[in-house]
């Protein structure tokens, strides 16, 4: 039991240490751009989420898309809304940005897209890109 605890503590420490560069990059990059205070995202004003968050959290975040795009981003056959699984992360990020800016017209997705930050969008895109079609 004691060994397991020690192991868990070590693992936790390791995560914190390894996650540090991620936090640092996230917080430093906007400062380099010279503006203050540094906004991490363009869309919404929320707490930044680390790009190194546990997979369970990302899975939970991605589950908010499943109602319309299918579980794990796999659309049903004959669906009128596209699936997200197995698509390029860059393409998904670009689409979300286009919805947010209004460049891509929509009935509803432009409203939903504005609810997610740049960091969350990147997490979602990477998650869906890694799912089986």
């Amino acid at each position: 039991m004691r060994t397991i605890h020690m192991l868990l503590t070590l693992l936790a420490l390791q995560t914190i240490l390894l996650a540090l560069p991620a936090l640092a990059i996230d917080s430093i990059e906007p400062q380099r751009a010279g503006s203050s205070p540094p906004p991490v995202r363009t869309g919404v004003d929320i707490e930044p989420q680390s790009l190194s968050m546990p997979p369970l959290y990302v899975q939970s975040l991605a589950a908010t898309c499943a109602n319309c795009h299918g579980t794990e981003g796999r659309a049903l056959s004959g669906a009128t809304v596209p699936g997200l699984a197995g698509r390029s992360a860059d393409e998904l990020v670009a689409q979300m940005k286009a919805f947010r800016s209004g460049e891509r017209k929509a009935t509803i997705m432009h409203q939903i897209a504005k609810g997610f930050s740049d960091t969350q969008t990147q997490l979602l895109a990477d998650y869906f890109a890694a799912q089986k079609r």
């Binding site: 390894l18 996650a19 869309g43 369970l56 589950a63 109602n67 579980t71 609810g115």
Partner: protein, 422 residues
């Protein structure tokens, strides 16, 4: 550092350290009470997120799920209940959920057990209750009796009553009056009553054009999508739909077809569809979970949906005390379920629950059999305020009713049913 490489590296590291611990979860038992939008989703997602490590038993008496969303179309005559029904079998076969076809009659939060009406007792490490709502019939004099006689219906849970209300409308002569009474918010499905007014009017317009739809609303105004609904009534159902705000129904009489209000004159109708005040379902209230709003709704820690009244019990769906601008909708219940599922998997796995869960909501409403409007929102958990708030600037309404949104509404239904059941 290249962003892509960096992302891949950080994802790989996270997998090693903060991923779920299948060994810790093995043998853990979760019981889910209620197989609606909330409960069925919770059962499936606990299995998915725990990589099948947690044993899940769904307590639900029915063999088939019947959707409340879209059930107003059955009242309007363009769908059947069979169109809105899906079996629970995939949850069992594909996801390994045990389906206990029974009713939960008692929960012991100390012994952590659930007693079923058949007499068996299930023990749990974590319990999810997605119990839905009960009608408070005593909030309208005479309603309890009229309801038991089958004369004044609600049809607010899709099933036999939905068909029974349709039959009442079919039996009504042309030139008759259908009256829908709406209680003060919050109630299940905020746009539901107004969509129903559209659906009944759609039926009357084609088959009984001299008939009327009278809506008596206890609220100041239409609770959801007010401008869109009022425009739809004026444009598409002129002379059929009449909307009356600030009309609180206090009594009904099936024998006289009479509705009495607290202030205004009484009204006669051929078909009365009276919705009384609602509250959390009995299994939640009798377990002591309804600790908010004078015992009506269940308080939860919004980060996890764990009850504020009992440890290891998670309450989701329409039965909870909602956060600001959070509707009691099927879509929202499905999203509650996913947050609760992830929190349960995290707790049983020895990691912290997600500090910043998110929710989405979409409510589509049918104006006729094809044309649809929506309201959408995105909700973020704010740790500093310990509640969900809508993300400012996100969400919104349809610009106008459209067939395109009708196709999306049908797609939404198919997809969310699969997301919870398949």
């Amino acid at each position: 550092m290249d962003r892509r490489l960096f992302l891949q590296a950080s994802a790989a590291l996270a997998l090693g350290a903060n991923s779920i611990n299948a060994r810790a979860m093995r043998g853990a038992k979760v019981v889910v009470i209620g197989g609606g939008y909330g409960g069925a989703t919770a059962a499936k997602y606990i299995r998915l997120m725990s990589q099948q490590g947690i044993e899940v038993t769904l307590v639900e008496p029915e063999q088939w799920f019947i959707s409340c969303p879209l059930s107003n179309l059955v009242v309007g005559g363009s769908r059947t209940l069979a169109d809105l029904s899906r079996p629970y079998t995939s949850l069992t076969k594909q996801h390994g959920v045990t389906h206990a076809r029974d009713v939960a009659v008692a929960v012991d939060p100390v012994a952590r057990t659930v007693r079923l009406s058949g007499g068996s007792v299930l023990s749990y490490d974590k319990l999810v209750i997605s119990p839905g709502i009960d009608m408070n019939f005593s909030s309208i004099d005479g309603l309890s009796e009229a309801q038991q006689q089958g004369k004044i219906l609600q049809a607010w849970k899709a099933g036999p009553e939905t068909n029974a209300l349709r039959e009442q409308l079919e039996a009504m002569p042309d030139g008759g009056v259908y009256a829908l009474t709406i209680p003060e918010a919050p109630f299940r499905c905020p746009p539901g009553p107004y969509e129903r007014a559209c659906q009944v009017a759609f039926y009357f317009k084609r088959h009984k054009p001299k008939s009327k739809v009278l809506v008596f609303d206890a609220n100041q105004d239409v609770v959801s999508k007010p401008a869109l609904f009022k425009k739809a009534w004026a444009d598409r159902y002129p002379g059929i739909v009449e909307y009356h705000n600030q009309h609180k129904t206090v009594a009904v009489s099936a024998a006289d077809g009479l509705i009495k209000f607290d202030v205004h004159d009484s009204v006669k109708a051929d078909v009365i569809n009276a919705l009384p005040a609602m509250r959390a379902n009995k299994i939640a209230t009798q377990t002591g979970l309804a600790n908010m709003a004078n015992g009506r709704w269940c308080g939860v820690n919004y980060q996890t949906f764990e009850s504020t009244a009992a440890k290891d019990i998670f309450v989701i769906g329409d039965a909870i005390q909602v956060a600001q601008l959070m509707p009691k909708s099927g879509h929202m219940a499905n999203n509650h379920a996913k947050v609760a599922a992830a929190a349960i998997v995290a707790q049983l796995s020895g990691i912290e629950p997600n500090p910043q869960p998110m929710l989405t909501n979409t409510c589509y409403s049918f104006i006729d059999d094809r044309i649809v409007v929506h309201v959408a929102s995105v909700h973020e958990y704010l740790a500093t305020e310990r509640t969900f708030k809508v993300v400012q600037g996100a969400g919104g309404l349809s610009a106008e009713p459209s067939e395109l949104e009708g196709s999306y509404a049908n797609h939404w239904a198919r997809t969310i049913w699969a997301d919870m059941l398949e």
